[in-house]
């Protein structure tokens, strides 16, 4: 985890590590499309199974408070530790110097020898395999100018990740590690869940869910851009001939939605907590009060069909 600003350009990530005041949020604010900001504060970096270094978005913001919505890991193309300057300047760093610069901005919560050895090994490999430049820029230096000046090796162009690929990546992380964090968008869960809230999700199967839980599911569309990762409140689970039908509803919308689990959509997990600004709200203690509301919704569209609840 690196204290850095990370932006996406040409389907790859560029990491700009820096201490507080070095210009991470300033840089993030200069990026036209917030979707291209992975973070302006903390960036997870790891070697992916394909052997490439990848940077991921995180739900931690600095001053910019924008971006962090990409669900995919982006191949890391280069690193440029930040500093303030009067004009744009770039200086290639020796791998040792680069390692020291990135280590200084890396989070390591332990101070024992093994943790330090591991951290050093990872960062030195990262800085030996990727180009690293010390970068100074002025407040007004346009981000396009910075990107144009960075002498990075050309990235083999690949199509921009589709929404389906990004959700698939999130699903893969959730299955592998049991937890995932993402930024909320949309208004269907207002006011409980707002635009930009950070949602911490834990993997869960339908058997463990109770009405009132906030569930996350992958609803496929007709094409890869039509897929959605949905966070709605669980109203009920119903056993049907075809399998388990999950019934959900957004708090702020009148429509009730249902899907055949594993068929029409895939249940990925449930929300463990929500962070809005500096405050974290576990969802568990709110479930009780929501069960009542959920039940009141439940009766309306389904009683007529005579379906029972799981």
């Amino acid at each position: 985890m690196v204290h850095a600003c990370c932006i996406r350009a040409d389907n790859a990530a560029l990491l700009f590590p820096g201490a507080s005041g070095s210009g991470k949020s300033t840089l993030a604010n200069k990026v036209a499309n917030a979707e291209d900001v992975l973070s302006d504060e903390l960036v997870p970096v790891r070697r992916a199974v394909d052997g490439r270094w990848r940077a991921y978005s995180s739900p931690f913001w600095g001053g910019a408070r924008r971006g962090g919505r990409s669900l995919a890991g982006w191949p890391l193309r280069g690193i440029a530790p930040l500093s303030r300057g009067e004009r744009l300047s770039l200086r290639p760093l020796h791998p040792a110097e680069a390692t020291a610069r990135v280590l200084e901005t890396s989070l390591c919560f332990e101070d024992d020898r093994d943790a330090a050895t591991h951290q050093l090994a990872v960062v030195s490999r990262l800085c030996s395999e990727l180009p690293v430049f010390e970068m100074a820029s002025a407040l007004e230096t346009p981000v396009d100018e910075i990107l144009a000046e960075l002498p990075l090796p050309s990235e083999a162009s690949r199509p921009r990740w589709s929404r389906r690929e990004m959700i698939s990546e999130a699903r893969s992380v959730l299955k592998r590690h049991g937890a995932y964090a993402l930024s909320a968008s949309g208004t269907s869960m207002t006011p409980h869940l707002g635009q930009g809230d950070v949602v911490f999700v834990v993997a869960a199967r339908h058997e463990s869910l109770v009405p009132g839980d906030l569930v996350i599911y992958w609803r496929p569309g007709r094409n890869p851009e039509g897929d959605h990762l949905v966070c709605h409140r669980l109203l009920a689970r119903r056993l049907t001939v075809g399998g388990v039908r999950i019934v959900t509803k957004g708090d702020a919308v009148p429509e009730v939605e249902s899907f055949l689990e594993g068929g029409e959509a895939e249940l990925l997990g449930k929300v463990a907590s929500i962070v809005r600004g500096p405050r974290s709200r576990p969802t568990g203690d709110r479930v009780g009060s929501w069960v009542g509301r959920a039940r009141s919704f439940f009766g309306l569209p389904f009683r007529k069909g005579g379906h029972g609840r799981a």
């Binding site: 040792a96 110097e97 390692t99 200084e104 030195s124 800085c127």
Partner: protein, 104 residues
Amino acid sequence: VRKLRRKDGLPFQTLVDRVVIVDPKGRQVHVLNETASRIWHHLAEERTVTELVALLEGEYETRPEVMEPEVESFLEELQGLGLAEAGTSEAPSDATRGGEPGSL
């Protein structure tokens, strides 16, 4: 005459011709230049300044009398930063060795 060696257990990594050392307790990262990195490697064993200069003589064209104060100063810096520590064995005395005395 004292001998020094690099502090046991400090994580370090050689990258091309330089060494990066991490001091986990002090939360410090140190980068050594090429010459300092050579000295660091020689400090895997206990060495006096004179022994280090003799080793470096074969690697650099600089005269020993020029090298010696610089090596000595660097070792003091390493020790001050807690990256090097005194060895446990005594160097041979000047009388028995017959050479120039070491400075540490």
